[in-house]
């Protein structure tokens, strides 16, 4: 294909571009614009400058959600990756049944967030019933409930990526270390960990952005209860738009801030990955 084939643009690109513009490009630009206006439908917007952005902090919902989300992201990124890495180590020792174990550990990842939320609501409420409380009794329960759910869902996924990373380690390096008498711990620290560093980067950022954007699980498990204290950022934005906790303009302004945070995480990831490629090559 070369330049004279420009006439094929309408066939090859236009359908996708049209759908992409309707679903993403136009709503994205409109979204940025509307975050500076007050409106009920998209067509009656009135310019209000930065007022939406300052109204975000009129009540504590957004700050609460931000704090809750950051705590959740920290705890789940650490727990998910520690469990996933050690399970990957166990599953790369060539024991029988490795494939079966991998199949089982990965499965929860495929189940949708709404279904996952109700599964864990049943189980956690069943446990808490013995103590005479429910999941929505205190935000602490909701928090750890979400962490447990996230671990159950994400460990298998991250484990699979770590397994791929560990299996990519050249076997002669391992054998040489064993012949030289390195202890299993030394092998782990001096060979496995440095050589799977790229997998760590991928997994850390994947868990980080997935945890940050969590919505379905949050909605199904606690729906923010008690009194919106377990609402994460995505759910708080949804509530601002649709549950009458504010105006649509404020919701859109919150969404812009949310976007900036998520994009910043992705940008840092890009820099980290590129940086490493630069030093190793």
């Amino acid at each position: 294909m070369n330049r004279k084939n420009n006439k094929y643009f309408p066939i090859f690109v236009l359908p996708t571009l049209l759908a992409f513009s309707i679903a993403f490009v136009i709503p994205f630009l409109l979204g940025i614009g509307l975050s500076f206006t007050e409106f009920t439908t998209v067509t009656n917007a009135k310019w209000t400058g930065l007022r939406n952005y300052s109204s975000i902090f009129a009540n504590k919902d957004f700050l609460n959600a931000l704090l809750f989300t950051v705590k959740f992201v920290l705890v789940s990124v650490i727990t998910v990756n520690i469990f996933a890495f050690f399970m990957a180590l166990m599953l790369t020792r060539k024991i029988k049944g490795t494939n079966l174990f991998r199949t089982v550990f990965f499965m929860p990842n495929l189940i949708g967030g709404i279904v996952l939320g109700y599964i864990w609501q049943l189980i956690l409420n069943g446990i808490l019933y013995h103590y005479g409380v429910t999941l929505t009794f205190s935000p602490v329960y909701g928090f750890w409930g979400l962490v447990i759910l996230m671990n159950w869902q994400m460990i298998g996924y991250m484990m699979v990526i770590y397994i791929a990373g560990i299996q990519n380690i050249p076997s002669d390096v391992m054998e040489a270390a064993k012949i030289d008498g390195a202890s299993p711990f030394q092998i782990l620290r001096k060979i496995t960990l440095p050589l799977v560093a790229p997998s760590f980067t991928i997994c850390l950022f994947l868990t980080m952005s997935n945890s940050f954007k969590l919505f379905d699980q949050n909605l199904a498990l606690t729906a923010g209860a008690p009194s919106r204290k377990t609402a994460m950022l995505a759910l708080d934005i949804y509530n601002t738009f649709y549950a009458g906790n504010g105006t649509a303009g404020v919701g859109q302004a919150k969404a812009v801030i949310f976007f900036i945070i998520v994009a910043a995480i992705a940008f840092i990831q890009l820099r980290v990955t590129r940086g490493r490629e630069g030093t190793t090559e």
Partner: protein, 280 residues
């Protein structure tokens, strides 16, 4: 000799530990299945008790739940929307990716970066405005949502396809062109077959996402057409009282298609997920 014995013993311990861990991983699903056969008042408080003669209700919860939320309709819509969207995405995203990778100009390069950029933007950023735009254009129906899914899915899909197209030797398509193939037939006869491995990845990633998607269809078509996640969320109702029996049964029915799909194409799913994760 002694080494081997300890290694053997270590492996037994490891296998036992992993078996225990597998049971813990499967337990939540098992508990839901067990409770789906219990009367609705015996679930919330004692989920860890097996059904007894008194609490066992056979398939009542299933019959109840299916009629209550119109599960069969929901399953129909879920299958329809997922399959159609994935097919549409595979066709159009691969065509676009091939074109913008091979025809180098400023517009196409920019377009590629906008597609890549869209992967970073969280759904909440566009959810309100997208819903309004779709309403104005009358895309708030099962047919329209397929177009919306093509739009949202094209970011990741074009990105993955483009990466793959770059690895195809250009001589392949040049030879086809010299033999008199039009770009369209070159795409259909030469490129499309070569794209098979990446198409499997793109197809799996998109079907998992669309099948499980809750928020987008609930905002766009949820009041009239329910997919499975919407139907389950609907069961919760607005009054705080959930029919736990129906809920358990519907959770089981929602999980079954996923488990079947997973067991049938497990290898592709795991490989696809790895390929999709390395996109950064």
């Amino acid at each position: 000799m002694k080494m081997k014995q300890t290694a053997g013993f270590g492996n037994i311990v490891l296998t036992a530990f992993l078996t225990a861990l597998s049971i813990i991983f499967l337990l939540p699903i098992f508990i839901v299945v067990v409770n789906s056969f219990k009367g609705k008042f015996y679930i919330s408080e004692k989920p860890f008790v097996l059904p007894t003669a008194k609490t066992f209700v056979n398939f009542d919860n299933y019959v109840n739940g299916i009629s209550k939320i119109g599960f069969l309709h929901a399953a129909g819509w879920s299958f329809y929307i997922t399959i159609c969207s994935v097919v549409v995405i595979l066709i159009f995203a691969s065509m676009t990716a091939w074109y913008i990778t091979r025809v180098k100009n400023k517009f196409n390069t920019t377009l590629y970066y906008v597609f890549a950029f869209s992967m970073v933007v969280p759904f909440q950023m566009v959810m309100f405005t997208m819903t309004k735009v779709a309403n104005i254009l009358h895309l708030d129906n099962p047919l329209g949502i397929i177009l919306i899914y093509l739009g949202f899915g094209s970011g990741l899909s074009v990105f993955l396809f483009s990466g793959f197209v770059r690895s195809i030797p250009i001589e392949l398509e040049e030879a086809a062109m010299i033999d008199g193939c039009s770009p369209l037939s070159t795409y259909g006869r030469v490129i499309l077959p070569v794209l098979k491995p990446i198409s499997v990845t793109v197809g799996i990633l998109n079907s998992m996402w669309i099948w499980n998607d809750y928020l987008l269809p609930s905002l766009l078509i949820g009041t009239e057409y329910r997919t499975i996640p919407i139907a389950i969320q609907y069961l919760k109702g607005g009054y705080g009282s959930i029919d736990m029996g129906a809920m358990m049964a519907m959770l089981v029915l929602a999980i079954i298609p996923i488990v079947v799909f997973y067991l049938v194409c497990q290898r592709y799913i795991i490989e696809g997920v790895i390929a999709g994760s390395v996109k950064g």
